[in-house]
Amino acid sequence: MSIAINLPAYLRPYANDNESIAVKGKTIQECLNDLIKKYPGLKKMVFDQDGQLHTYVSIFAANEIVYADQLEKTVKDGDTIHILYIIGGG
């Protein structure tokens, strides 16, 4: 099962400048774990020291927002997960 994780511009330097990364997993959490396995530098950008999502990182799966306590939601083949790092520039 292949899932794509889409990264915002801010996080792409931590993943060899890739915008979209193919990962494997049955749940959102498993997919995120696979992403971190491929690009360990992303870990500190996405998760805090306790392994929880940073409060300023938002996750979307199948185009809908997924909150930190919903990462065990299952994904299906072909889904895209978006990781958004908060931006505040104006």
């Binding site: 409060t55 300023y56 185009n63 927002i65 908060i86 931006i87």
Partner: protein, 248 residues
Amino acid sequence: MLTPEEKQRYDRQIIIPDFGEAGQEKLKQARVVIAGSGGLGSPAAIYLAAAGLGTIRIIDHDKVELSNLNRQVLHWDRDIGRSKVQSAAEKLTQLNKNVRLETIEATITGKNAVGMVAGFDVIIDALDNLPTRFLLNKAAIEYGIPFVHGAVYGLEGRAITIIPGKSACLRCLYQGVPPQEKFPVLGTTPAVIGCIQATEAIKLITGIGTPLANRLLIYDGLNMKFTELTVNRKKNCEHCGTKARKQS
């Protein structure tokens, strides 16, 4: 009532289906507050003034710096060192003398935020920092004022419209603030997002179209594509959810 001069000035938008003179009259009576007169606030203010907004209030505590000029198009070389709100008001008055411009040169805080936006029809979030954006988000929800959020980073921009009591708010989307740092930005990015914010404000006031509520629009200038993601209201949101209602 629109004057003959106004009918001629706004003719090209008055003839838009569903807009009409009634829509123009609504704009003339409307009051919009723009928080920030920088990269986002400049294009938003320019197009709202050009469209014939009745009152535009601009809030900014900064002075114009040389490094602002790649994107903050209301401010020019000659304005360096000058108050941004004064610089902006001068240009906007020259653009459209019919618009009533109010300026507040002050920092938005938890104490004064509500007083700065109360009584306005729409708030444009054109700020450059997240803590103040959250303050305004909360004030908008408390006073039931539609809030049009925009933000940029490099060639990426985001926009979402918050309809208090009906749609997800900024706090539903983001719960925290990362360490502050200088952000990169190409001037065209806030130009795109600021114009989207102005469009949203005009739609909310005139009642045309569908607002960008519960939908986060992401502009990726590097790959030149737009993505739309659904943001649902968070039940226990600190600003608009049950948690907020219990606290108030």
